[in-house]
């Protein structure tokens, strides 16, 4: 059917009716029934609201129009349809025309079929509303997810496969000190300074063959791997990261999601714990070594004291005064040896626990060393020749006198102890670039190569000491004292040829160490 014919035979788009002062229908156009809600009621003589419910409630307006107080009234888009019928939409227009007979205005009500227009409008509104509902639920979902992400205690980062940051959460901003804007588009290496090899391997594997992983599900690449990171302020922190892939809105394109916890604190306490445990272990070892050495070293002198006191008790009355005092001297010497041993042990205990006080004071080294050497030469009954050498006229330094005395005394008496009487002990004091160098050289039995490395450990004694008595503490104490001065101690030795100890100590103590 062509469109002209269609128009001719199509139902009329406009119909009308008129009503009287009682709202009763007085006249209708032929096709009016089509527009009525109840067609059987849309006839002359019936009240208009029966067939057209939309007029219920607007009687006042009808009166106003009829009386000329209001020009007209429109009701647009009234729908008339039930489930089974195809929809019909009408616009209603109410106007008053002068009626010749009654000298009174007559109310005309026009109905226009606007179905076509309204169906089009419906399609548009439908599309627009659906889109808006979707948008609103999407933004609600995004809001919700953002809130979750930002209330997470964990750090969250999303990056592209190549590592460009796409999103970070509040926790990450707080921890790293950057705002999100500062990090977007930046490589993740800006905050992660060092990846654990495990993490690198997992990502590498994924990048090489992403197809092996199920992309839609997202897969976990690694879990709780500790990596080193750096904050904006440059602080180093450790973060345990877990990493998964997620698919983006672009098909086949994956991103990495990192979720991490700051483990800096945990790691630090862990390290501290390990250190404490090690110290404790060391202390236990020390104690048990002390007990064994004590039982060994104390037994002989104690036996001697016991013997001498027995002799004095049992034979005292028969012994000459001279012999008595010899026994008493023996006891005295033995006791003082034991006291020294005890002192050594106490000192080493203190040094190891870093409890020795360190008080550097101004000191003239040349005089100090010379006098100390003479003192020890005398104390050892001049069994050895002591040669002290120093090119300087004087050496002003800043050192702890007590500790320095311990260092030099220990090394000199060792030199005497482990070399034969009559041999020479050389003691050189040198000054080089702010360092005082003490060199003590003997011509004694020397130290076997394997023992040289462990020489400064507490209670360690070289294998060739024979029956020369010693606690194995002297060198450990010496080393501790040197280190308190921020110095070093080294040994050079050849078995049967002699030994040289070299101690280097800064002449003036660095400031931060003295405070």
């Amino acid at each position: 059917m062509n469109s002209l014919l269609k128009k001719i035979f199509a139902p009329r788009r406009m119909e009308y009716l008129t009503i009287d002062r009682n709202f009763k229908i007085t006249d209708t156009s032929d096709g009016l029934k089509r527009f009525a809600d109840k067609p059987e009621e849309a006839v002359v003589g019936k009240e208009i609201t029966l067939g057209f419910p939309e007029f219920f409630g607007i009687e006042d307006i009808l009166v106003a129009i009829q009386q000329g107080r209001q020009a007209d009234f429109h009701l647009k888009g009234i729908a008339r349809y039930s489930e089974t019928e195809s929809p019909l939409y009408i616009d209603i227009n109410i106007i008053a025309y002068p009626d010749g007979e009654n000298l009174e205005n007559r109310l005309f009500i026009f109905f226009e079929d606007v179905t076509e227009k309204l169906l089009l409008e419906q399609a548009l509104v439908q599309k627009s509303n659906e889109a808006n509902l979707l948008l609103s639920s999407l933004s609600a979902a995004k809001d919700y997810i953002d809130k979750i992400i930002n209330s997470m205690v964990e750090v969250l980062l999303v990056t592209t496969l190549s590592g460009k940051i796409k999103k970070i959460n509040q926790a990450a901003e707080n921890l790293f000190g950057y705002s999100e804007a500062e990090l977007l588009g930046q490589p993740i290496t800006k905050i992660v300074t060092e990846w654990a090899s495990e993490a690198l391997r997992a990502r590498q594997r994924y990048r090489q063959s992403p197809a092996n992983h199920q992309p839609s599900l997202g897969c976990e690449l690694f879990k709780d791997v500790e990596v080193n990171c750096q904050t904006k302020a440059g602080k180093k922190i450790t973060i345990a990261f877990s990493c998964s892939t997620i698919s983006t809105d672009i098909e086949d394109l994956q991103n990495f999601v990192y979720v991490g916890r700051d483990t800096t604190e945990r790691r630090r306490t862990q390290e501290e714990l390990i250190k404490t445990l090690e110290q404790e272990k060391e202390l236990r070892k020390l104690k048990s070594r002390f007990i064994s050495i004590a039982s060994h070293e104390f037994r002989t002198p104690l036996a001697m004291i016991l013997l001498s006191s027995d002799i004095l008790k049992q034979y005292g009355h028969k012994l000459s005064e001279d012999k008595k005092s010899k026994q008493l001297d023996k006891i005295k010497v033995t006791v003082s040896n034991m006291t020294r041993l005890l002192d050594d042990i106490l000192t080493i205990n203190q040094t190891e626990a870093m409890q020795v006080s360190f008080n550097p004071v101004p000191i003239e080294l040349k005089k100090f060393c010379q006098e100390l050497a003479e003192e020890i030469e005398l104390a050892t009954n001049k069994t050895h020749d002591f040669v002290f050498q120093c090119q300087e006229s004087e050496v002003s330094a800043e050192m702890d006198e007590k500790l320095l005395r311990q260092i030099v005394t220990n090394l000199l008496s060792n030199a005497v102890k482990y070399s034969s009487p009559g041999s020479t002990v050389y003691f050189d004091l040198l000054v080089k670039k702010g360092w005082a160098i003490f060199k003590i050289r003997d011509q004694g039995i020397g130290i076997p190569q394997p023992d040289q490395g462990r020489l400064f450990e507490t209670f360690h004694r070289a294998s060739n000491v024979g029956n020369v008595s010693g606690t194995g503490l002297g060198l450990a104490i010496t080393k501790g004292a040197v280190e308190l001065h921020s110095g070093t101690i080294a040994v050079e030795s050849e078995e049967g040829q002699g030994t040289t100890f070299t101690v280097c100590v800064p002449i003036v103590q660095p400031k931060e160490l003295t405070t």
């Binding site: 006042d60 009808l62 009234i78 309204l118 419906q122 439908q126 509303n129």
Partner: protein
């Protein structure tokens, strides 16, 4: 048995469930499909009531289902003319529809000063009970004196749908009787 008619309107943002609430009340049905209303659709529902003299009377309720408010189109006040009451509807899962409740209430009152209003927080089946309490409380604080009651409804489960309409109708009839319906004559 005499019959009186009353007009009520359902007003609210698009998609809040106005059509669904009417459908539930009138046809006792519900559909998940969304068909946006354009213009207005009038449904009738006859309710039996007892009047002051304890006589049975039929109330023909004319329920106007209006096109929802959108960003692009507000509600036409001409539709509201002559309504005795209105149910103002919001969708509990969309906060913006709750925010606009007051605006709709005021629009209705501007046309019908003595209109009776109930508010429906619809789609409560979508929200956990304890979350709901929070949402509703937030609005009640700002509630307007003319609001007769606030209902948490679900057109889907039919929760409180009948009660809401019933409360509205009862109040309308009650005030209508007091006022002595005006003589309707040109």
């Amino acid at each position: 048995m005499s019959t009186i008619s009353k007009k009520i309107c359902l007003i609210g943002d698009f998609g809040v469930g106005k059509t669904s609430l009417i459908r539930r009340f009138v046809e006792r049905q519900f559909s998940d499909r969304y068909l946006s209303t354009v213009g207005v659709k009038i449904s009738r529902k006859t309710i039996e009531l007892l009047n002051n003299q304890a006589e049975k009377l039929n109330l023909q309720l004319l329920i106007w289902d209006l096109e929802g408010h959108t960003k692009f189109k507000s509600i036409a006040p001409t539709y509201l003319q002559g309504a005795s009451g209105a149910a103002i509807v919001a969708d509990v899962s969309r906060p913006e529809t709750i925010e606009r409740l007051t605006e709709h209430i005021n629009l209705f009152l501007s046309v019908n000063k003595k209109g009776i209003i109930v508010v429906a927080f619809n789609k409560v089946d979508l929200i956990a009970k304890e979350d709901l309490a929070q949402i509703v409380e937030g609005f009640q604080a700002k509630a307007i004196a003319q609001v007769l009651a606030i209902y948490q409804t679900s057109a889907k489960t039919s929760l409180s749908v009948d009660e809401m309409f019933q409360t509205l109708v009862n109040k309308i009839v009650e005030t209508g009787n007091k006022e002595q319906s005006s003589v309707r004559e040109l």
